[in-house]
Symmetry: C2
């Protein structure tokens, strides 16, 4: 059981190297308890002290060259076929390993656009090029961005299991909190109640604690722009949450809408808005499958919203969820400049995305929902239970 | 009260810039919740999402150029004199700020030898040099290592207060655990008791949880090489701990020795070893003061150990303690190759060091103690209460 997740990710890295035809991948780190390359939690799940090389080949070899004090711990994880300890310096071993493998390119962890693929520090890069000077490999270093984006994006069974659990706990907390929500509570009070529940469930924040959950009471708040305020809930008003927890390193990210009143009292305008948002998410979920492009999925929901007479939402329909609530890679977003190439990416089986959007009503403010889905071979599966109607607290 | 620590560190950074005559310091980061430059927790205490520049000048100006969504949060911290938000891109603002300041050199965060000063990623460095291309500043980027080492090493009042509290909690846990220690407990059981106490005190681990506390029962264990085992405590044997907690981001690091027996039963050989280690720490503490070099302090203790007929300890006498248990910078160590230049550094007022060493007895294994000290203007102050005799559990 131990290190299942890391083993899955290591094996996946080998598959992806073959798939993108990259000869070798070198993860080059030191003192990772102080500054960790974001890939390490996927392929090691532990720390390295001295200068260390984790070397993956297209052929399936995984070699760890590490300081002698680290060697036993890394060996015990059973993730690397060979663990080569060193005492004096890593340089000679690293050079001779590369000589043996003779890679045409060596992927290293830098990226201009994706922080998750940019874990190599400038100092460590300079040390690496010094170590390799005089070898052909100093000029064969290329960005491993394509590998890392796939590696993070394709969730393995262990990763999906953790996200499922994070979603389940999030939904349980919403369920537990519902009966305690009433008119006259401030956003800050409600925020406090949610944090007590998170502590009780032993989960962390999926994003910056100050904004988790976002709690938006009443019609005059633009969602997402401030943390909870002294603003109070009121009969006849909507209440919005954007809430995510972190369970064993993996996140959920869910938006829910409540109404303070009886079902029969929900204004027509709000019903129309809710139905629009709900249906846009449904339509996108019916469309999404491996091979479609991110912006194509976004367009399905966006077109629906416009066809119902609303202004289009000013963000992407969905982002990937994993170690982070916003986990990078392909985005289900429109082809706007600020999203760069991310909406042009292909959706892959194993991706976990949010589907989220809002519309703005005239009298009752914004109405926004967000669900989490897993892309499957044939389409997608909802990880959250899609909200089908306003939760009425009347 | 809020952000006192960060304010102290920001002001200190300005002083150090003047002291080392560096015109400007540029902390250049993005999406820091995923990968944070280690200096950020000192000078910001929060996250930045888009490409962001924190720019310090020798003259005392502090400017933050940040994405518009981050601006309010950074403004609210009150640490930066000017917070300049951007929407489209950071490049123009960064260039015009540098044009205005006209620095002769701009320190950036890379270092071959110190991970704490190596927070700039290769991708972000390449983006920076692109942004600055065509300006004189692209060629004026230098390592800010000298600044960062001083900044981390000189603890401010708020930092010292947190370390004091971490030390106090560590000592309290030792005190609470003492009456519960008895022959026949396994190292793993004792480890579990300490972790329950840590949870109760609400503190984290000062280093890798697997080795904290190190628990070493009996004569046959080489300290520091494995986590707690099924090895059992026994009457007439020694018990050793290396234990540190993290309180509000700051660490303690303390070693203590217990004996299972009455004071009168402590073997002569053990008494002699204890006295040697205790006295070596005392002598080093009487010698250390601002201006002495790291290796000079180590030599005081090392010479004492040798004069008492023991082999010298195979590590440094002391390392700095702060955000990490091993906090980098000047080391109180011998001039051995593996320590590089770190023992040649000057001790400064405000540094917090461990004083730690072991000697090896013939019959009872190793005897090792560790205390934490604060370097003051005139010498040093013990933050821990030095262990004066074996704690006898008889």
């Amino acid at each position: 059981m131990a290190h299942n997740l890391e083993r899955e990710k290591c094996e996946q890295a080998t598959q992806i190297l073959a798939e993108i035809d990259m000869d070798a991948w070198l993860v080059w780190v030191r003192e990772t308890s102080q500054m960790a390359d974001p890939v390490l939690e996927l392929i090691l799940g532990g720390d390295l002290v001295w200068q260390s090389a984790l070397l993956f080949t297209k052929g399936g070899e995984r070699t760890a060259i590490v300081g002698n004090f680290d060697a036993d711990g890394i060996e015990a994880k059973g993730l690397y076929h060979r663990v080569i300890p060193y005492t004096e310096g890593v340089k000679d071993t690293l050079r001779s390993e590369l000589e043996r493998i003779k890679p045409g390119q060596v992927g290293i962890n830098f990226s201009l656009s994706d922080v998750a693929a940019d874990g190599l520090s400038l100092g460590m890069y300079r040390i690496l090029t010094e170590h390799l000077s005089g070898t052909p490999y100093a000029n064969r270093l290329v960005s491993a961005e394509a590998l890392i984006q796939r590696l993070r994006g394709r969730k393995t069974p262990s990763e999906v299991a953790r996200i499922r659990k994070a979603v389940e706990i999030t939904e349980n907390i919403f369920r537990e909190m519902s009966p305690r929500l009433r008119p006259g509570l401030s956003e800050a009070q409600i925020y406090g109640m949610f944090h007590e529940a998170m502590d009780r469930h032993g989960v962390g924040n999926a994003w910056d604690e100050d904004h988790n959950p976002a709690v938006d009471a009443g019609p005059n708040k633009v969602f997402g722009h401030s943390g909870p305020t002294e603003n109070e809930t009121k009969a006849g008003h909507l209440l919005h949450f954007d809430f995510g927890v972190k369970y064993e390193g993996y996140c959920s990210d869910i938006q829910r809408m409540f109404f303070f009143g009886k079902p029969a009292e929900v204004p027509e305008e709000v019903l129309h808005a809710f139905e629009t948002v709900h249906d846009a998410i449904q339509k996108a979920s019916e469309f999404i499958r491996p091979g479609v492009l991110g912006h194509e999925v976004d367009a399905i929901a966006r077109d629906h919203v416009k066809s119902r007479g609303y202004e289009e939402y000013k963000h992407a329909l969905g982002h990937q969820v994993g170690r982070l609530a916003h986990d990078g890679g392909t985005l289900l977003g429109p082809l706007w400049d600020r999203y760069g190439d991310t909406p042009r990416g292909e959706v892959e089986a194993g991706n976990v995305f949010t589907l989220e959007l809002y519309v703005t009503t005239k009298e009752y403010g914004q109405l926004s929902l967000e669900e989490d889905i897993l892309v499957t071979k044939g389409g997608c599966e909802f990880l959250s239970h899609p909200q089908r109607e306003l939760i009425c607290l009347g």
